[in-house]
Symmetry: C3
Subunit: 354 residues, 3 copies
Amino acid sequence: MAAGKGCCNALGRCIFEYETPKVLVIQNKTVGIINRLIQASIVGYVIGYVCVIQQGYQDTDSVISSVTTKVKGNALANIPDLGVQAWDVVDYIIPPQAQNSFFLLTNLIVTQNQTQSTCAELPSPSTICTSDSNCTAGFSNVHGNDAEEFTVLIKNSIQYPKFNFNKRNILPHINSSYLKGCIFHRQTDPDCPIFRLKDIVVGANEDFQAMAVYGGVIGILIDWSCDLDMSENKCVPKYSFRRLDNKSPNNNVARGYNFRFAKYYKDCDDMDQRTLIKGYGIRFDVIVFGQAGKFNLVPTLVNIGAGMSFLSLVNAVCDWVALTFLKKRNYYSKHKYIHLDENDDTEETMYGTQ
Amino acid sequence: MAAGKGCCNALGRCIFEYETPKVLVIQNKTVGIINRLIQASIVGYVIGYVCVIQQGYQDTDSVISSVTTKVKGNALANIPDLGVQAWDVVDYIIPPQAQNSFFLLTNLIVTQNQTQSTCAELPSPSTICTSDSNCTAGFSNVHGNDAEEFTVLIKNSIQYPKFNFNKRNILPHINSSYLKGCIFHRQTDPDCPIFRLKDIVVGANEDFQAMAVYGGVIGILIDWSCDLDMSENKCVPKYSFRRLDNKSPNNNVARGYNFRFAKYYKDCDDMDQRTLIKGYGIRFDVIVFGQAGKFNLVPTLVNIGAGMSFLSLVNAVCDWVALTFLKKRNYYSKHKYIHLDENDDTEETMYGTQ
Amino acid sequence: MAAGKGCCNALGRCIFEYETPKVLVIQNKTVGIINRLIQASIVGYVIGYVCVIQQGYQDTDSVISSVTTKVKGNALANIPDLGVQAWDVVDYIIPPQAQNSFFLLTNLIVTQNQTQSTCAELPSPSTICTSDSNCTAGFSNVHGNDAEEFTVLIKNSIQYPKFNFNKRNILPHINSSYLKGCIFHRQTDPDCPIFRLKDIVVGANEDFQAMAVYGGVIGILIDWSCDLDMSENKCVPKYSFRRLDNKSPNNNVARGYNFRFAKYYKDCDDMDQRTLIKGYGIRFDVIVFGQAGKFNLVPTLVNIGAGMSFLSLVNAVCDWVALTFLKKRNYYSKHKYIHLDENDDTEETMYGTQ
């Protein structure tokens, strides 16, 4: 009963009382200005740097993407043992159905009429020389300067699932007549999704002719970094090109890019045969990346809150200044501190004894 | 020596003394309640919103994934110049070994017996007309209604490396007898990894027949977002379907999806020949995404700490209320503030002079 | 005018005055030590755990990557109806141009001379038996022990766009002579990008022979987690291997890995024919992941700030101790608190009445 009453009092006091620190107001320009300056700089940092520059008020999500590529073009190829041939995309581009990566055949070695029972580059004296002779003989630069003019249409559909945001690199304002004619150009046509292969290679600071011989890998990087608090129209892909494979001379065993493939058929004796082709060329990888940011309460308050907690440092600094450097430091500390001595039960200040 | 002694004293004082602010207890219901309300709302925000809703106590990781797809089904195809043919998956699905993307051939244009020396769609009058005639002639809708019944088995293995967590979309409770028969259905069979192609297209709000003519790209999105603080059984994939390619009429040059490929062979005169096929169809992209969260001390304390620092604002607000609006504001501020004047060395309060 | 003057005074006071709390200094070892201990532990947590262990001072970015793989090796295959054949990579590896995934053919079923007009595994009595007989007959383990010795060269180029950081798994110190000879070994050659397929399977704790029969999927995981505040040389890929497909016996319908593909040709009557091959084998997926961290001011200050705000808890704890447990608690609280009563206008302390 009494306990209950005491408990009620405690609760009442807890709710109906308000505790506020007793403060000392020091009328001193120096420390007053220092105080405001530090406070201003902290607030300035939180608002200016964290929120505006680093956009700490945003939640972020990573892009998910789907890519389709389609290459167009024709060329003439002069292949030893086969003579001049007309080649088109179907022959040049492998695999025909390119997704986020396609390969441009620029150079090949043909080894004809291999039957699997005899010569498949087995390490036996006979076959080695055979294949060797074939290979060295068949070496030929298919189209050093034909295929540069090839163009590729890149269709890229991206999504930021967290923000339920979808977009394509074929922007809404692009119409079909423009798409039929345009070629990507950083200044004049930055939104055109059709790229001349030569431009891509040049954009990666490489020489097409040089790459055509031994092949290589070039990345078509599509950056979808977006600030979704801005207008949706401002969220557009940024294209850049970079050589991805190693071309340093000191470990050139891994240089270039090539692979073997075969065309299979049967001769009239119904024997399985194949034409083995070692293809050199340039592989183009479409690499999509990016992060989108959108306002979210939690990161905002976390950044502001963390910044504010630095305000508690201001007092420490200013007290230190006021009680160490100011002329009247003793006068200040005499009023700031009340020393309660362990041994004595009566209030006394260290300075009171002076 | 003396300095050392003084240093020791300072250190001793620093360790054995405890500084606590002298506080004023204002017994006023208004400000007392305001004080508690603001405090409660801040604590409520940190606990309720940050921790419970936004799960700010969790560290996150992005999914890495590997996908295998296998399509099953048969159909009859009526191809001009070739007559009725029985087609199966090998003919329909390109490439045969589908990984995270497979292509369903729904429509094709056949150009037969091309020898690379003559017609490869070179821009010369003769060949143009040739290929044109072939192409227009060979147009045929292979299986508008056959292949809808095709099914695809999607095997998806994911990993959250940061949490060393692995899982497959073929859930542990799924047994082989169920897998043999089941077809994915959002309500009845949400865990079955076998999808009827028609259901996928319908799920993306598209018409199979319409897409079959010009082709298109459909995304099979697998969302692996998981709360790893919950039971592992709760971490299951969520499937959704969406059309990825552009179908807006105003830029239909990039409409649909098709590509050319060739079947190579030699005729009996040992001449290289090929059958050129322009294939229209639907490409299905399996896109896996998701983020997993798991308890981690750092984000937890960062969120709580940042939230707590807002508690320092409570005093500012309540002081402002108490010293501005309350009837006895002068009485309060007289006791709260002690003004130390720059010029005077004796304590006096601004109000003491009143 | 007067208002303006008052306003100026207020502003002047706001700038030139400094408010600091009046503090009570309690000279008591117990509470003094408690005070310092808690402070030290908080500072220790922020510096030690958040900054050093969890590297909370870093901004992070996710890797983007491009992979090229090239398999080398030869083997002898004994295929029913075809006899012993020499097979090389072109026959074994599908597709020939492997990107981040390649398939090793270890087992196959050959169905010869199918004409699409007759037998394409249509569900009709005649064809079913045909294909069945073919299929069962053609079953053969191509190279249980041949192809283990195959090696794969993995070229991986990665990028951390946020930090503009590029690197390849062929590290600068690797020269061509080393690359020609080396085979990856966790202890002796951890930097060699050439892997023996057998080692990969063993590294995934699997038996090559067992997998060769029904096939499977194995992941080659490349972890590029890097601390970019350290030397760039310390940022090297870490390789690991793991079986990705399901091998649990209770749902073995989805067991293993296989797919059908066909070799197309024409017979001399110019009839389209194909050899249908059901290939079993091991698919190797190269999965690249990782996160890079680099110093950034914002996360640093957020972590420190959030940590600091816990310092405000120290006072609460120590006051509680001092005013509850210490012998002289009444003496302390008498000096700490000044109670302003709602009803009275003269200062009085709760204890003053005692």
